[in-house]
């Protein structure tokens, strides 16, 4: 039997505000354990929360960017459960009136436009961290992360494959980055997701029972978790079983999910309105002001890159989805003088290869747009060969004040296009390769390539291959 997969994602993004959501402690990752905490973070008796205005603004920005309806009169609710990393024994979150709802995001996948609905976006606080270390008899609790502001972005069950899930996550991540409201550092846990998966027979209208997977901390982990879960559910059904509603925990290191709790043990969160906070009211004017602050988003950039820069869709997408690459690309465009396609080719080609090797982003390189443009200009003008251009890139990629002309000169990379300077080389090669010359005259014209290569070698790579070919054809 063929199955259709139904996926919904809940993305938790830590917001990059200065202070925490309910107190004035610094919102920062890392540092000494329990160093960024106060009585409010620890939920000490008598302490009260006060809501950070910036958190509300950031959530509304995300709502605008994902085409949501903004609930400008809203409130907060308590989600009650006990765990050592949750000092108040409840999380201040939002229940029935999220700050944003009924939105969607569009993205391109395999040449087709895909739309995923956004059910809701709400604001809430992060919990602390448990440290498990064999050295200690118990688990240690670090409360630094308590009160770090989060938005939870809940998608509709509109996603149909792990590939779509990944593309959706990349889209959400790039929007967060363009809005500059989250660091989106997966390795620091500033972007996490819970994955809901169900399967149904192909063509069916009725969704199957879903399972939720928690602790998915990377996009590749999300893909693996989804695929694992699809396989698990199909195997269950094919062997005559039924999928039961469960919450499972994804173990990325082992590549498996394990049962956390079944439906019977479902948590009863006893939500009720947070009595320590009054209503949140954002004026219509402020909602509109925030909308006006939304920068050009990846989708709009893709369209612009395709239309104005004549980039193919895949390249436009690759550039637009990565904010650092997009910024670099646009800085290069602003300098101008070369074709946008060449810039794109270099960024997505050799430069991206280096980024992958080093596992870093383009803005972490010393490379300057001016240097790249200089280099591309020389290459486009055939002043340097493509091989020489790669050599130049190696020089400028880690140098913030590189002088491209000086590098070309110093390394002697300039191409020789002057026929008079190359005539000697050509004559020498023709003389040394009598056999090839004979073959050529016997109709094996493809030996010309070999002869051009010999000329290049003799000119130590500096001869302009086009000029050499022309000379060879004339003199042979």
């Amino acid at each position: 039997m063929e199955y259709e997969v139904v996926i919904g994602l809940e993305v938790h993004a830590e917001l990059s505000t200065e202070s925490k959501i309910y107190c004035s402690c610094k919102n920062a990752f890392g540092g000494m354990v329990n160093a960024q905490v106060c009585p409010i973070c620890l939920g000490m008796p008598g302490t009260l929360p006060t809501l950070n205005k910036q958190v509300v603004d950031y959530a509304i920005l995300m709502g605008h960017a994902t085409n949501c309806k903004i609930n400008n009169i809203t409130k907060q609710d308590r989600k009650n459960y006990m765990y050592p990393d949750l000092p108040k024994a409840y999380q201040i979150s939002q229940y029935d009136i999220p700050i944003c709802e009924h939105g969607y995001v569009d993205f391109m996948l395999n040449g087709e436009k895909k739309r995923v609905g956004i059910t809701r976006i709400h604001i809430e606080e992060d919990a602390g961290k448990l440290i498990h270390d064999e050295k200690f008899s118990g688990s240690l609790v670090d409360f630094n992360r308590c009160g770090v502001p989060l938005i939870e972005i809940v998608s509709e069950p509109d996603i149909r494959s792990s590939e779509e899930a990944k593309a959706y996550l990349e889209t959400i991540k790039s929007i967060l980055q363009y809005l500059d409201i989250s660091d989106c550092k997966m390795q620091e846990g500033s972007l996490r997701c819970d994955v809901n998966v169900s399967i149904m027979p192909k063509g069916s209208k009725e969704f199957g029972t879903r399972c939720e997977m928690k602790n998915v901390n990377t996009f590749s982990g999300a893909v693996r978790a989804i695929e694992y879960e699809i396989a698990r559910q199909i195997e269950l059904v094919e062997s005559g079983g039924t999928v039961e509603q469960q919450t499972r925990r994804w173990d990325d290191a082992k590549g498996v999910s394990v049962l956390l709790r079944s439906k019977e043990d479902a948590q009863d969160y006893r939500y009720f309105p947070e009595p320590d906070l009054r209503a949140i009211y954002v004026t219509e004017e402020h909602v509109a002001e925030l909308k006006a602050q939304i920068p050009e988003l990846p989708n709009q950039k893709i369209e612009r890159y395709m239309k104005d820069c004549q980039l193919p869709q895949i390249e436009a997408t690759l550039l637009a989805e990565n904010i650092q690459k997009s910024k670099f690309f646009e800085a290069c465009l602003a300098i101008g003088g070369v074709s946008p396609r060449s810039i794109s080719n270099w960024i997505l080609g050799d430069i991206s290869k280096t980024l992958n090797e080093r596992n870093c982003e383009i803005d972490e390189l010393a490379l300057q747009p001016t240097a790249l443009i200089e280099m591309i200009k020389l290459a486009e003008a055939k002043t340097i060969s493509s091989t020489a251009a790669k050599t130049v890139l190696e020089e400028i990629i880690d140098c913030a004040d590189a002088d491209v002309a000086a590098i070309v000169k110093e390394k002697g990379l300039a191409q020789i296009s002057d026929t008079s300077a190359l005539e000697g080389v050509v004559e020498q090669v023709l003389a040394d390769n009598a056999k090839a010359v004979e073959d050529y005259h016997n109709g094996k014209t493809n030996v010309l390539g070999f002869l051009v290569g010999q000329c290049m070698r003799l000119s130590k790579g500096k001869g302009n291959p086009a000029v050499l070919r022309e000379l060879l054809e004339k003199k042979i």
């Binding site: 009585p39 008598g46 006060t50 009650n80 006893r270 320590d276």
Partner: protein, 488 residues
């Protein structure tokens, strides 16, 4: 000079005139504590050393010619659910027996800035749940007017300390009547301010949407002076507001009651209210009539249901507020446990008393899956209804007058086994919390046994000035002043 018997207003005058020192006052108060505390049991912690040091500092500053706030040097007792940095804050619970907060409540900071001297922390019902002070883990406070009777609760320690002249002023907290009911039982004055008028930051929460810290004293003037110190909008409490905040409530004390309309809500004079209490309160209404006020009958039809709504809302919030006491970060941790859940359950089961557990259970139940709409939501809907009824009443009158409690102080142990009977003593006070209104309780006579009877004046939101001036007018008209009973 018997400084311990004086009102805060009298002491303020003497201190300003230089006819006594803060040190003399504080020493006198501790002498009275030494004399009667063994019988009253109002205090859980005394801050003798710190209080004397603070008094000396105030005396030094005053002698140096510094202009100090009026209450600088006046002793105050603080309820033990209000956090005091460096001084244990137990909420009268085993759970917080060793809890010393590393921060102070906003009101405590304000007391210190105003130069008030904290004498000690006073007893209460555990986590402010109770009407008799019998739910304290540590001791049972007695009513100074009759040591076999309860002082009321939950701010029983505050009221008893005032009644026994073991403090000049006191802070209490009021969620369903916890300031007013003990004030009535002990014959002192207590004000539950408008919700939001006083910062709750540092008040260990019972029911966040109902809790308010309030001033207590032996006269309306004293209460007005203390209210002026503690009221304010606080950036640490998002529910606090500064609507109509008065810098000096004493300045409003002499507002004339002639021409005011006093409402008698008929629902507060019905079944269950003792004859003696009814007569005393109606006599007080007559006093207002004599002073030129018009007395009108009004109606708050929903009063009868207020108790139910109160128990839903307060227990639901309490169950969540008290979930943080889990033995992890502060407070009691059980000695024996195998697992995390074990540690939670054992710490909470051993650390909380029966009444607290009962309310946590009730609150957990009303919030649990499937019941929220039937209970909590219904309670909140009722709250809106009740607010409307009060608004309608205040369209017809300036303030309401009712009994504070249907009876006078009951005997220790009398109601402990019947929570519903105990809860019924809150019937006149809970409506005020649900509607977020200010209300004052003050003495208006005694019953045949010589026990104080309290009347309650209820005002519209931020009408504290009206209530205090009406109370002050009553005191003047009746020539009333507090008399210390013979203790023991």
């Amino acid at each position: 000079m018997e400084l311990y018997k004086k009102t805060a207003a009298e002491l303020a005058e003497m201190l300003a005139a230089g006819s006594c020192t803060a040190t003399e006052i504080v020493e006198d108060i501790y002498a009275q504590i030494d004399a009667v505390e063994g019988q009253v049991d109002a205090y859980l912690t005394l801050c003798r050393e710190d209080a004397l040091a603070q008094a000396a500092e105030i005396d030094r500053r005053r002698a140096a010619g510094e202009k100090l706030p009026p209450l600088a040097g006046v002793p105050i007792a603080v309820k033990d659910n209000i956090c005091t940095e460096g001084v244990s804050t137990t909420c009268a619970s085993k759970m917080l027996e060793n809890f010393v907060p590393p921060y102070s409540a906003t009101v405590v900071d304000k007391l210190r800035q105003a130069g008030l001297i904290t004498i000690g922390k006073v007893n209460m019902d555990e986590f402010a749940m109770g009407s008799s002070c019998e739910n304290s883990h540590f001791k049972k406070t007695k009513n100074p007017h009759d040591l076999t009777r309860v002082p009321g609760g939950s701010s029983g320690g505050s009221a008893a300390a005032l009644a026994a002249c073991e403090a000049t002023l006191a802070l209490g907290s009021d969620t369903g009547g916890s300031i007013r009911q003990p004030a009535a039982f002990c014959g002192v004055v207590g004000l539950k301010p408008t919700y939001g008028a006083v910062s709750r930051y540092g008040l260990v929460a019972f029911a966040s949407s109902l809790d308010q810290i309030g001033p207590m004293g032996r006269s309306c003037e004293d209460v007005a002076m203390l209210l002026s110190v503690i009221t304010s909008k606080d950036e640490l409490d998002a529910t606090s507001t500064d609507c109509a905040h008065r810098d000096d409530y004493r300045a409003y004390l002499d507002q004339d009651v002639a021409g005011m309309r006093v409402g008698l809500p008929k629902e507060y004079f019905g079944e269950g209210v003792s004859q003696e209490v009814q007569s005393a309160v109606l006599a007080a209404a007559d006093t207002y009539r004599r002073l030129g006020a018009e007395v009108v009958e009004v109606s708050i039809p929903s009063t009868a249901h207020a108790l139910s709504a109160y128990y839903i809302i307060s227990s639901a919030e309490a169950s969540s507020n008290l979930a943080r006491f889990d033995g992890v970060k502060y407070g009691y941790r059980a000695k024996e446990y195998e697992s995390l859940t074990d540690m939670y359950v054992n710490s909470r089961t051993e650390g909380f008393g029966d009444e607290v557990k009962r309310r946590i259970m009730l609150g957990t139940y009303v919030l649990s899956s499937g019941y929220f709409d039937a209970y909590y939501k219904k309670g909140k809907a009722f709250q809106r209804q009740l607010c409307c009824e009060f608004e309608q009443a205040f369209a017809q009158c300036d303030f309401l007058i009712t009994p504070t409690v249907p009876t006078t102080a009951f005997k220790l142990g009398e109601n402990v086994d019947d929570p519903v009977a105990m809860y019924k003593s809150d019937i006149c006070t809970v409506t005020v919390n649900i509607a977020g209104l200010p209300a004052l309780s003050m003495p208006c006579g005694k019953d045949a046994a010589g026990l104080p009877i309290g009347m309650q004046l209820i005002g519209p939101k931020f009408g504290e000035d009206k209530l205090l001036s009406a109370g002050h007018a009553y005191e003047k008209a009746t020539g009333w002043h507090y008399a210390l009973p013979q203790i023991g």
